[in-house]
Amino acid sequence: MTSDNQRPPAIEVEDLVKTYRNGVKALDGISFRVAEGETFGLLGPNGAGKSTTIKILTTLARADSGIARVAGVDVGRDPETVRRLIGVVSQRSGADPVATGRENLLLQGRLYRVPAGSLRKRVDELLERFGLGDAADRKVRTYSGGMQRRLDVALGLVHGPRVLFLDEPTTGLDPEVRAAMWQEIERLAAEDGMTILLTTHYMDEADRLGDRLAIVDRGRVVATGTADDLKGELRGDGVDIELADPSQAEPARGVIVELPGMRDVAVDGRRVFARADSGAAAVPTALAALERSGIPVAAVSISRPSLEDVYLRYAGRRFAEADAGPELATIGGSR
């Protein structure tokens, strides 16, 4: 990722702290930078502070301390200017259910002061682009979840923002609908050259969409980089050997530990896990050694490290575990 020294980064966040009135510390010094034209993902479990960060950057909430700038403009000092530069797609829809898709877009455009002459054309374009052409004059409450979400994104784009914020854009969507939404987001980044900040608690989504990622946990960034960088730091592949007989798990462990290039060996039931610099090279050696010791193997698999592993490494706990924890920042029905 090249950073342009002439222009300020699209988004700068430095040491943001935010404590809600009920004492919940949502942000604890979060910092990151997003370059212009970049798609940046904030990945973390519920309550990690992703949404709060977006709310501060989109002028909805105020930070207790720290700096947040969008296109060089301080969101605390000059929220008016920031509001003109950004498009916001928040977690909850916010579209009028009793108005049609077109009416929603027209109103949004008028409030953004899109010139009346070009607004209708712009709205038609967006409806077409997001596959809502046929449903344009139907009330939004008749839309499917996927259609509503596409309308939400269209609403955030009416005025041609420089920076687009997507707060959990695919949460609650069917797999096919999710995939379609991903394509659309990729297109926004590629064709429109827009800077996009998205939050997600889906590993696969962050992996696919983010040029760069920040892993957020308990209100701080615990790791930043491209998905590949982050996974690369884990060094090596996971090797998962399933034995025919669970009682031989311990002897098998003893055999594997002795092999060169095998690390982090662990046992779970009839399965032995290990980490190897190159899974493809390690597996034949391991199988041969086990055979020599008379331990039959039922199955073997090699896995590239996932963001799940990355999260475990940096946050010190499993993602699902953190996600299942109490919803920290839930206040009055908004997160």
């Binding site: 002028t59 003109r84 928040s90 916010g94 259910p97 009793v98 409030l111 953004y112 009055g332």
Partner: protein, 258 residues
Amino acid sequence: MSAVLTDTWWLTRRRLAIFLNQPGYLVVTLIQPAVWLFLFGSLFRRVVELPGFEAASYLDYLVPGVLVMNALSSSIWAGMGMLEEIERGTMNRFLTLPISRTAIMSASLGEYAVGNFVQSLIILGMGALGGAEYPGGIVGMAVMVIAAGLLGTIVGALSNALGMVARERETIIGVNTFLLLPLTFLSSVFMAEELMPGWIANIARFNPLDWAVQVGRSALSADPDWTLIASRGAWLVVLAILALAVSVRTFRSYQKSV
């Protein structure tokens, strides 16, 4: 300033569209004042025979009261609409747009102002059908309708502020049911001031609902007391501006909690 007005216009249009989209609610809203007028008009018809009551017929006396009571009892629920906007996420969407908070608030009040206006005309019309007379003429009626509108604005703005702070329906329902009847009965809506117990008359003097009723009743009468209309009317305007300021200010408190 013109930007605020433009935004208010578009947002009010939106709110009215939502309102018109609920035909059942719309019909009830339009019928309710007529029901009140005839219910209270019949029940208390003979009250005018009490010495001290100056009105020729109780209906003449009652029309301004029902008009103001109607403005109160519809606007006091404005906070529910605000809560719905918050829950649906619409409020947060608007708050990230480059529009003023005053416009967001005014649009909610604008919706109720238009609703009150239509209901007021219906009440005046129904009253006339039932035999009420408005010697104050068009000017009197205009003053009456504006007074009810101002009360609606005061009550609606405060209800919106309550909705944003409390963030739960139960609180709004609790506060409203607590306030509705006392506000109505501690006033000259149903009973002439001269005939009230002293303590109620004293309280009524500070009840904005009573100011609106007095302004309207006097303006509709054959001999309007313009001094009274101007002073009570001015207080209503001042209170409306204060209530609007308080409600716009409440956005800050709301934004601390999102």
